[in-house]
């Protein structure tokens, strides 16, 4: 899932701090998305009576489809934002207040 482009220049010896920062931002976002996915699919698929500790068949199937649909939604939203010229680095259509 390469949400962000890489920096163009590639110095051979030292550390390109901007590139490292980009990688860390990407990592943070993937972690954030994963945590939201875990939480959303838990709400949608797991019964909260907790009569047993194992996932039953229905819950397992639901999880697989939940993750699949989440990725589809992620793709659709990403394409829409990109089409709006609002993707990585651009302004989000004035969605954020100027500080």
């Amino acid at each position: 899932m390469s949400f962000l482009g890489r920096g163009p220049s590639a110095p051979s010896g030292g550390i390109n701090h901007e590139r490292v920062e980009m990688a860390v931002s990407e990592l943070d976002m993937i972690t954030d998305i994963f945590n939201k996915l875990v939480s959303s699919c838990h709400t949608k698929c797991i019964a909260t009576r907790y009569a047993e500790g194992d996932l039953n068949k229905g819950e397992s199937v639901c999880i697989d489809r939940c993750v699949g649909k989440f990725f589809e939604v992620n793709k659709k939203v990403g394409e829409k934002l990109q089409a709006m010229g609002a993707a990585a680095g651009g302004s989000a259509g004035g969605a954020f207040p100027s500080l």
Binding site: F3, M29, A88, A92, P97
Partner: protein, 90 residues
């Protein structure tokens, strides 16, 4: 934010931090948007693929969320400017 009481070095430093934070804010907004529209639109897991109805819902949800954020942002900036003015620009 009022950066006018800072010297040039401080302003440059803060600007750089703000720039980085804006990128992070954009990414967080993006993942919130995906999560919000997924939660509002996808509630049927008897099908594997996104249905047409779900896809339309996601597109409208995205559209509406961005317009919502934009409107909140505009009002926020106005109220913020008022509040700044009321305290003598500080």
């Amino acid at each position: 934010m009022d950066l006018s009481q800072m010297n040039a070095a401080e302003q440059a430093h803060v600007s750089k931090i703000i720039e980085r934070k804006q990128m992070q804010d954009f990414l967080r907004m993006y993942s919130n948007l995906v999560d919000r529209c997924f939660n509002a639109c996808c509630n049927d897991f008897t099908t594997k693929a996104l249905t047409n109805k779900e896809e339309t819902c996601v597109m409208n949800c995205t559209d509406k969320f961005l317009k919502h954020s934009e409107r909140v942002g505009a009002r926020f900036a106005e109220h913020n400017a008022d509040a700044m003015g009321a305290t003598g620009g500080k």
